[in-house]
């Protein structure tokens, strides 16, 4: 399982990754900002670099956060989709198949990170999000965005090794990082991992969230479907037969 480690302390906010993403995935340059404070993920912006002005100790600093799909270990979008349009690949990327998509947008409701976006202006819109350059990753190459990062903020590799490295960076640089690898446990863990020197909640991350994956939460109720269907049908049949003698009201004659 592959992943990417994002070290926010190293990101200079140049936006090379955004350009690489647009070029490799052949995405149009739309009006939605892809860099800066108002940067926003859209159907055309699969990744953006968002600027945050935060205070660190006494000083005011800029921090840049690369946003894209986290590629959950157990993705909510895939479990929510009733046409199996999303798939978690063994290599790590969570990918989308537009051919079978019905366009119900339940994935957009289900994603805890609000990542999937929609081609609202299209006649037959697709759901759009980062595919983690699946065909590159499958061939052993790194995603386009990682390959162009000039600051060493992005590192591609095996998720387990990256997680280990992230923890080592925290341990070997006392005081540099907050002691948390975002993506290690959030919603069951994600392929993209983040290190930061300012608290994640100040950088637009949703913190204090469930460590249980969304599919797992959902499974807590869906596992009852068949037992309830079978049991209830048996109970109803028994009730139907037991009370049948008491009337026969359904006939009109």
């Amino acid at each position: 399982m592959k992943g990417v480690l994002v070290d926010i302390t190293r990101c200079v906010g140049c936006g090379s990754c955004v350009v690489a993403c647009k070029l490799y995935n052949n995405l149009p340059w739309s009006n939605a900002p892809h860099l800066g404070k108002d940067a926003v993920l859209t159907a055309d912006n699969w990744t953006v670099v968002k600027e945050f002005d935060v205070s660190k100790g006494k000083e005011s600093v800029w921090r840049f956060v690369k946003e894209q799909c986290f590629h959950c270990l157990e993705p909510a979008c895939a479990s929510a989709c009733f046409a199996a349009a999303f798939r978690k690949t063994p290599e790590g990327p969570v990918i989308y198949n537009e051919r079978v998509c019905v366009g119900c947008r339940y994935c957009m409701i289900a994603c805890p990170f609000s990542i999937p976006k929609y081609e609202w202006q299209a006649r037959f819109p697709r759901v759009q999000k980062c595919q983690m350059c699946f065909y590159r990753v499958k061939d052993g190459e790194m995603p386009a965005c990682v390959s162009v990062c000039p600051a060493g903020a992005l590192k591609f590799g095996d998720r387990d090794a990256l997680l280990k490295e992230a923890k080592e960076r925290i341990a070997q640089n006392p005081g540099r990082y907050v002691n948390h690898v975002y993506g290690e446990k959030e919603y069951g863990g994600t392929c993209w991992l983040y290190l930061s020197d300012v608290p994640f909640e100040q950088l637009g991350f949703r913190t204090h969230v469930s460590t249980e994956s969304i599919p797992h939460v959902s499974e807590r109720v869906t596992k009852w479907t068949l037992p309830v269907a079978g049991g209830w049908a048996a109970v109803l049949t028994a009730l139907y037969l037991a009370t049948k003698g008491s009337g026969g009201a359904e006939k009109s004659h």
């Binding site: 993920l41 859209t42 909510a76 895939a78 479990s79 929510a80 989709c81 009733f82 046409a83 199996a84 079978v100 998509c101 019905v102 366009g103 119900c104 947008r105 339940y106 957009m108 409701i109 289900a110 805890p112 609000s114 976006k117 929609y118 609202w120 202006q121 299209a122 006649r123 037959f124 819109p125 949703r206 969230v209 469930s210 969304i214 599919p215 939460v217 959902s218 499974e219 807590r220 109720v221 869906t222 479907t225 309830v228 269907a229 209830w232 049908a233 109803l236 049949t237 009730l239 139907y240 009370t243 049948k244 008491s246 009337g247 026969g248 009201a249 359904e250 006939k251 009109s252 004659h253």
Partner: protein, 396 residues
């Protein structure tokens, strides 16, 4: 047969009906526009609000309010409580029409509508989706209701052997006709289980499916009452007050169970503080629970209130309003803080809903006036339990 059908098909044209036809025709235009030009052109939906008016009203509220069909069918056809039989056919009809509207509404809402049939196929893993189950159950249940209705159709369209075939299918259809709604009414609540730590904790609960199921059950008697009162007014008949009064009493008990479970759930998740913190969420939640559950439950529990047309109708309006508010709160109020952004439906979104309701009213009128739906009046003397065998009349 206890009654004679008139010759030929009838549809009495009135000013109101012309108006409903006009509304429906405008909506057809809007629907064609939406299917040709896409969701962005026909709605104000956006990336923050991927689900809006159609999902909330045409689907979630539509299915809940059609709950009168299965709750009445459960009492009449499964438990054989024949005292409720006089309203069973009307409840089936409105429920069936409701589900047909839900399916049309759902079709309007899906972006790649030429793929609507895909979820009927089973793909690896697609059965894990809550929506997979909802889609299958709603589609199958609509079919079950159409088949149940076949038994009524072939009384009028004289065909003894078809009538026999449809009658023979009824017992298994009755069982399926309660199992399927139980599954999908609850699953509509399960849809929002995935919004854990985004949907406001006043509404988010792992027990959402149970709350959606119970509320769809208790809104059933209230809807049957309102439909009955409208039909009584339209056709100059007496309301079936003794039948409805007993029906809403069953509803009141389910409301009581719902209320107790809600309180246990809120207590278990330590949300009593949030309940009275004065936020918009808490105020709308209190309005929903007090105005939409507690007050009508008490009204239904008092015999003098539920035995009067005014009390019965008022409490039913409150119950229906409470369930509508509950679904709105789950889709909009409870998600607003987490989703951000803005959403207010475009006129075209309202227009489609209005057109679908107009279609249902027109279809109801036509079917009631040409098929045996409403009970013959002389068999339901006021204040007395109805006869063991209900006979029906064609009105209009």
């Amino acid at each position: 047969m206890a009654y004679e059908f008139p010759e030929g098909w009838r549809f009495r044209m009135t000013g109101w009906r012309k108006f409903f036809i006009l509304v429906f025709l405008v909506a057809v235009g809007v629907m064609i526009y939406r299917l040709v030009y896409g969701l962005g052109a026909a709605t104000h939906l956006n990336d923050q609000w991927p689900w809006g008016w159609w999902i909330a009203v045409d689907v979630l509220i539509g299915v809940a309010l059609a709950g009168g069909g299965y709750s009445t069918a459960f009492l009449v056809h499964i438990l054989h409580r024949k005292q409720f039989a006089p309203v069973a056919r009307a409840a089936l009809l409105t429920s069936m029409l409701g589900y047909i509207l839900v399916l049309i509404g759902l079709f309007m809402d899906i972006g790649r509508w030429y793929n609507f049939w895909r979820p009927f196929l089973v793909y690896p893993g697609s059965w894990h989706s809550v929506l997979f189950e909802v889609f299958w159950c709603i589609s199958l249940y609509t079919m079950v209701q159409v088949l149940e209705f076949g038994s009524i159709v072939f009384e009028r369209v004289k065909s003894d052997w078809l009538k026999r075939v449809f009658d023979a299918m009824l017992p298994p259809l009755f069982i399926l006709g309660v199992v399927l709604p139980t599954l999908h009414q609850s699953s509509l609540g399960s849809l929002y289980v995935v919004t854990v730590d985004r949907l406001d904790p006043l509404w988010w609960s792992i027990a959402l499916p149970i709350f959606f199921l119970l509320s769809s059950f208790f809104v059933g008697p209230a809807m049957v009452t309102l439909e009955g009162s409208l039909a009584a007014k339209a056709y100059g008949r007496q309301m079936e007050i003794p039948v409805l009064s007993r029906l809403v009493k069953v509803g009141a008990w389910v409301m009581f169970i719902y209320l107790v479970l809600k309180l246990i759930d809120l207590g278990y998740r330590n949300q009593f503080g949030h309940l009275f913190d004065g936020s918009l969420e808490s105020n709308l939640f209190l309005l929903e629970i007090v105005g939409g559950v507690i007050v009508p439950m008490i009204m239904f529990a008092i015999p003098s209130v539920r035995n009067s047309a005014g009390g019965l109708i008022t409490a039913s309006v409150l119950t229906v309003g409470g369930v509508i508010l509950n679904r709105m709160n789950v889709v909009f109020t409870g998600m607003a803080a987490a989703m951000g952004g803005h959403y207010f439906p475009k006129w075209t979104e309202f227009m489609v809903t209005a057109g679908l309701i107009a279609l249902a009213v027109l279809a109801y009128c036509f079917l009631v006036e040409n098929f045996a739906i409403l009970p013959a009046e002389e068999h339901v003397p006021a204040g007395k339990p109805s006869e063991a065998h209900t006979s029906y009349t064609v009105v209009g």
